[in-house]
């Protein structure tokens, strides 16, 4: 390079990439290094989560320092040396040990943040052999993780010296139950090889760009679309509702399939899709939306629930009177009598905000034709639901579509709904070409679902012994412009709003209200976290009024075996809330004391501490609906077991837990096995990954499948069904009596799949439909939890710091304690975000710069207490966990604030300004 280079479009330059010289041609001005690495050099371990410096997923090392590749012009790196996660892990001993340590400590869940974490950690460890936690935080502070709660990442970095290098060993034998086995699919994650939604398309694939409404509500009409295609040779096609061969709607529940793939005439929320362009990358990447031939006419919109319900306001969706989408109801006893008979009654209003899932991977995917079959590869929580919806939209039969999930870079409920899939499918069908689409961060924020904002009002009464006599709960949930999972929230909440307590008199009413906002849908807990925040903070208010210790008050009222819940459902065994609360007792006493000491030492100081507790429960599986899972497995003549495991692993670990359960049921020591992961052509339907159902429901299917396979073998061997089996080469025998009878698999005939033995089993949790009063058996199983939070409030600045969380979880039987801890950490930190900082405001906080999620520096110490009260219907007694983990966290934190300051915060998030205002207001009230 000379002193001054004028680069016109298209520059050729060289640099060192992972210790090899590379040369790229035709680099554009302002081309981002992330783009060059991913698309020109296929270094796809550099992830793009935001394209704005906010997530750190694209972190690379340039000449020894970490930077965001998305903020680096490729032209700036000429002659420099770049290291990415792959290079670090492949080429350095330290990198391999770091990868091994991440695996050992469960530091990678969905894994999308892992390359950025590995890069940052490597940089730190290069200069600090023995870093402190603080140093780790500082160095990893620029990389966001939404899954792990960071603790295990810190452990992974600190544990590097005691860890073996990661190797891709064939794992022999299924990990057993109770073993803290590493993620079986973790190797690809920690080495940067895992392919997520935007990692599968080859470079130069046609791209899809969705055109979206810039208004909360608008009429629109298209200009000359054909002319636009003609004028722009790089555009292959335009897609609108007219291109949809089937039904232009998707959704979840019959009667609520109301979200158009492309809006027709009217757009109902800011970000709704109206059309899409399919074109070559250069065109799509530089396309400006205002150049699309469309005219918008903004229409009056309604964003608040109060307004939406007013008479005379427009219907957000036709036919929904006063914008009420649906209602939910559970009634037991006579709540009014219960409240009348109460010695003390507390009531309160509670408000929560839109919460964004904020997974680090925006929705993305790839589509192509394989002969006559359309193949969709995208990040999803449910392959079969995607497939069924696409069949309807595309008017194809089931053999004409194949859905193959990519790895999912975080989901938490939002990737249950369709996002990129129909646009990809239509693009490929119309052009005959492969197509790709990755949402921008803003698109992901605007167009995909959120947690429902809620307005809750609740009344609880207790008698003079502190026993709950009655609860009246009313909740309105802003479901946005379309139904999505709104009906699920509306039916789940009234079932759960008693909390895990015995409530003889109960009335809960819920309503979903349509507004011109992004649709609200499924988000870890389906409305239960909001309801729990209201109930549990009110319980503390009551406990204080009647002078009872909050923990003992909860223990006294806890639900138990043999007691009916709000739906009148009684479990003879397995109700684990009391053991959870009791497990907290020693911590509670200890923390109460510590808080007293801290506050005494800080008298007249602006920092005060408090400790709060809250409980939670959650029904696993669909609400009073069939939700079967099927698992298939077989043994080939060479002695390898193949497990067709279709339960989507979104980082929670079904690819590990399902094999553990299956292996235990199969009872064959050290058998070599291979996992066949979800693919609608290869694995049977294991249902969706939601409702904390995979360990319970798919786990049961895996157990049944393992047992069935074993039964076939034991029968052939003519040994008892309980015998454990042994395999050596192709010879199977009973472990206890190896010489009694043996079977040579190589001699057996195999079927079309190549299996000599095969089994396929289904489990569908038994439920009983709810009657007109909401009485019945909505779930076959519940999981229970109680958490304690120690918080520190800065009374001058309104800032709240969570110091410690102790989380007791009844998981029935801990299949994999390390993964349980990972879920707990991640859930607690998500709950912390919901409690203190997260608020999506359409048009304002639609990026990761302004929408804040916790960073590595915001996490408390978290202690997980695993409680095991076996569930009679769970596989080996196991219960679901994925959603339970965040349910009690927000109220535990709010109750901690209450304990510290005497002030109840009733609007989430408890941001510094809200907390300070509440403190000032309460002082003024005195």
């Amino acid at each position: 390079m000379s002193n001054q280079n004028e680069y016109y479009s298209g520059v050729d330059l060289g640099f060192t990439l992972n210790n090899s010289e590379v040369f790229v041609t035709n680099v554009q001005p302002a081309e981002r290094l992330s783009e060059s690495l991913r698309e020109r050099l296929l270094v796809r371990d550099v992830k793009v989560g935001c394209n704005a410096g906010d997530c750190g997923a694209c972190s690379v090392i340039i000449d020894g320092e970490i930077v965001c590749a998305c903020l680096t012009p490729t032209l700036q790196v000429e002659g420099k040396s770049i290291l990415t996660a792959q290079g670090i892990v492949n080429d350095t001993q330290l990198g391999r040990r770091l990868a091994g340590s991440f695996q050992k400590h469960g530091a990678s869940q969905c894994g999308i943040c892992t390359p950025g974490m590995v890069v940052s950690a490597y940089r730190l460890l290069k200069t600090e052999k023995d870093p402190t936690v603080e140093m780790v935080s500082d160095y990893l502070g620029g990389v966001l993780c939404r899954c792990t709660g960071y603790q295990k990442i810190i452990d992974g970095v600190l544990g590097v010296n005691g860890s073996d290098p990661e190797t891709r060993n064939q794992i022999s034998g299924f990990p057993t139950i109770g073993e803290s086995a590493r993620h079986l699919d973790g190797n690809d994650k920690v080495t940067g090889l895992m392919k997520y939604g935007d990692d599968v398309a080859p470079p130069y694939t046609l791209m899809v760009k969705v055109i979206r409404s810039p208004y909360n509500r608008a009429a629109f009409h298209f200009g000359d679309l054909d002319g636009f295609v003609e004028d722009n040779p790089e555009v292959e096609a335009i897609l609108t509702h007219g291109d949809i061969p089937g039904i232009n709607n998707f959704g979840i529940f019959p009667g609520f399939i109301d979200q158009p793939v492309f809006a027709v005439e009217e757009a109902r929320f800011k970000g709704e899709a109206v059309a899409a362009i399919v074109g070559f990358p250069e065109f799509i990447n530089s396309f400006l939306e205002e150049e699309f031939p469309i005219t918008w006419t903004e229409l009056p919109s309604v964003l608040e629930m109060e307004d939406a319900e007013k008479e005379g306001i427009h219907q957000v969706l036709p036919g929904r009177d006063r914008n009420v989408l649906c209602g939910g109801f559970v009634k037991r006893g006579d709540f009014q009598k219960g409240l009348q008979n109460s010695e003390c009654v507390s009531e309160g209003e509670f408000t929560t905000s839109f919460v964004e899932h904020a997974y680090i991977e925006p929705e993305a995917g790839y589509s192509f034709m394989d002969g006559d079959q359309l193949v969709i590869q995208a990040c999803t929580q449910s392959t079969f639901m995607d497939k069924e919806s696409l069949q309807e939209i595309l008017n194809l039969d089931h053999s004409q579509i194949r859905v193959v999930p990519t790895a999912v870079g975080g989901a938490f409920g939002s990737k249950l709904d369709l996002s990129v899939q129909p646009y990809l499918a239509l693009a490929t069908m119309k052009t005959g070409q492969p197509a790709r689409l990755a949402y921008t961060r803003r698109e992901s924020f605007l167009s995909t679902t959120k947690r429902h904002p809620a307005k809750l009002s609740i009344k609880v009464g207790v008698n003079d012994e502190g026993l709950i006599q009655g609860i009246h709960f009313q909740g309105k949930f802003n479901t946005g412009a379309f139904s999505s999972w709104g009906p699920a929230v509306i039916s789940r909440v009234p079932i759960h709003a008693t909390g895990p307590y015995f409530v003889p008199n109960y009335l809960a009413e819920t309503k979903a209200i349509l507004t011109n906002s992004s649709p609200s849908g499924a988000f870890r807990g389906f409305g239960v976290p909001q309801a729990t925040a209201a109930l549990e903070t009110l319980l503390d208010d009551l406990a204080q009024k009647i002078g009872m210790d909050p923990l003992e008050f909860r223990i006294k009222n806890a639900l138990d075996d043999g007691l009916p819940n709000g739906c009148g459902q009684i479990f003879e065994s397995g109700v684990g809330i009391k053991p959870c609360l009791e497990a907290l007792r020693p911590y509670w006493t200890e923390e109460k004391k510590r808080v007293r000491e801290f506050n005494a030492a800080h008298k007249n100081h602006h920092l005060v501490r408090g400790v709060g507790v809250a409980s939670g429960w959650y029904g696993c599986g669909n609400t009073a609906l069939s939700n079967p899972s099927t698992i298939k497995a077989g043994i080939k003549s060479d002695g390898t077991v193949f497990l067709h495991q279709g339960a989507i692993d979104i980082g929670q670990g079904s690819n590990t837990v399902i094999p553990q359960i299956f292996g235990e049921a199969l009872g064959m020591e050290k058998v070599p096995f291979e996992l066949i992961y979800a693919d609608t052509d290869l694995t049977p339907d294991a249902g969706k990954t939601s409702g904390s159902r995979q360990t319970f429901v798919s786990g049961n299917a895996a157990r049944l499948c393992g047992m069935a396979l074993k039964q076939q073998i034991t029968r052939q061997l003519n040994v008892s069904e309980d015998s454990s089996l042994k395999i050596e080469g192709t010879i199977v025998s009973a472990a206890e009596e190896p010489n009694e009878s043996t079977l040579d698999l190589a001699t057996l005939p195999s079927d079309g799949d190549g299996f000599v033995f095969k089994a396929m089993e289904t489990y569908d949790p038994p439920t009983i439909t709810l009657d007109e009063n909401g009485q019945g058996e909505p779930y076959a199983q519940y999981g229970y939890t109680a958490q304690l939070a120690v918080v520190e409030v800065d009374q001058k600045l309104g800032k709240v710091r969570v110091v410690r969380v102790v989380a007791a979880h009844d998981v029935g039987k801990a299949i994999n304690p390390m993964l349980i801890e990972g879920q707990v950490h991640g859930g607690v930190v998500q709950g912390l975000g919901m409690a203190l900082m997260e608020e999506f405001i359409p048009g304002k906080t639609d990026n990761l710069h302004d929408y804040l999620i916790p960073t590595i520096g915001d996490i408390p110490e978290i202690n997980t207490i695993i409680v095991e009260v076996p569930d009679p219907s769970g596989p080996f007694g196991a219960k679901g966990l994925g959603e339970h983990v965040l349910i009690p966290t927000p109220p535990a934190i709010l109750n901690g604030i209450f304990d510290a300051t005497g002030v109840q915060i009733r609007k989430l998030p408890a941001s510094p300004d809200r907390v300070l205002k509440a403190l000032v207001d309460s002082e003024n009230d005195l």
Binding site: M1, T72, G141, E289, K796
Partner: protein, 283 residues
Amino acid sequence: MVHIFPENLSSALASMEIPAKVIAGCTDFYPSLENGHVPDRIVDVSKVDEMVGITKTTPGWRIGGSTTWTKIIDYPFPPAFDGLKAAAREVGSIQIQNTGTIAGNICNASPAADGIPPLLTLDAMVEVQSADSTRLVNVEDFVLGPRKVDLGTNELVTAIWVPETRNNTTSSFLKLGSRKYLVISIAMVAVTLSISPQGLIEFLNIAVGSCSPVARRMPVLEKKLTGLRAEDLLDDIRIEVGDLTGLTPITDIRGTSEYRQSAVRELCQSTIRDAIVKSLEIT
């Protein structure tokens, strides 16, 4: 489209004779691109020799405009720069500090730019050059409003000058944000001060950011506290509303106006106290 990559000052200034978009660390540039045009003409000043690095000269320090936050953190400045260093450590994340530059921060002119309050308390000046002129402007006068600076189309910010500081000057910077890393300030306060051998505040500079369109010095408060016994201030710093003149905090996603109003008082107290403690430690 042109991307120009000058490596020395004269060619950089020459290339500015035709209007261009200047880029350096690009940490503000790329996020502002999201739905926009890539500018036709880009002048990349990240490698201009004379604009990178820090030098101590007789009238003070010259910090090249393209100097990154990391370089500022690593430089052996005297304690008077602790506030600037603390601000540098609070800019985004290490990734951002490794590329983001001081001139970029000033020229981007965000009301929440963390670099500006410490520079105000250091009485820093901006060196602005074009092919045929060089001028020095006070930071105060250079930043005119949100996204608005006193910069001609042919000019570059080539350096920041910080005048000589007294040996006993200490400084401090506190930022209020809703999370630990990667967070834009709700409010921030920078302070430099020195304490006389008699224990009195000799001079005190206070600047507040994120509470007005441009970060501002607080002359009334500075005057009120100057001459007081430093140790007394450790227990009690009275700050009345009238002491914080010119603040017009707005309500936005990060906090309400009332909140900023009261938080900034607390923040001022803590930052002053912090600087006093440091000062008492070195004497």
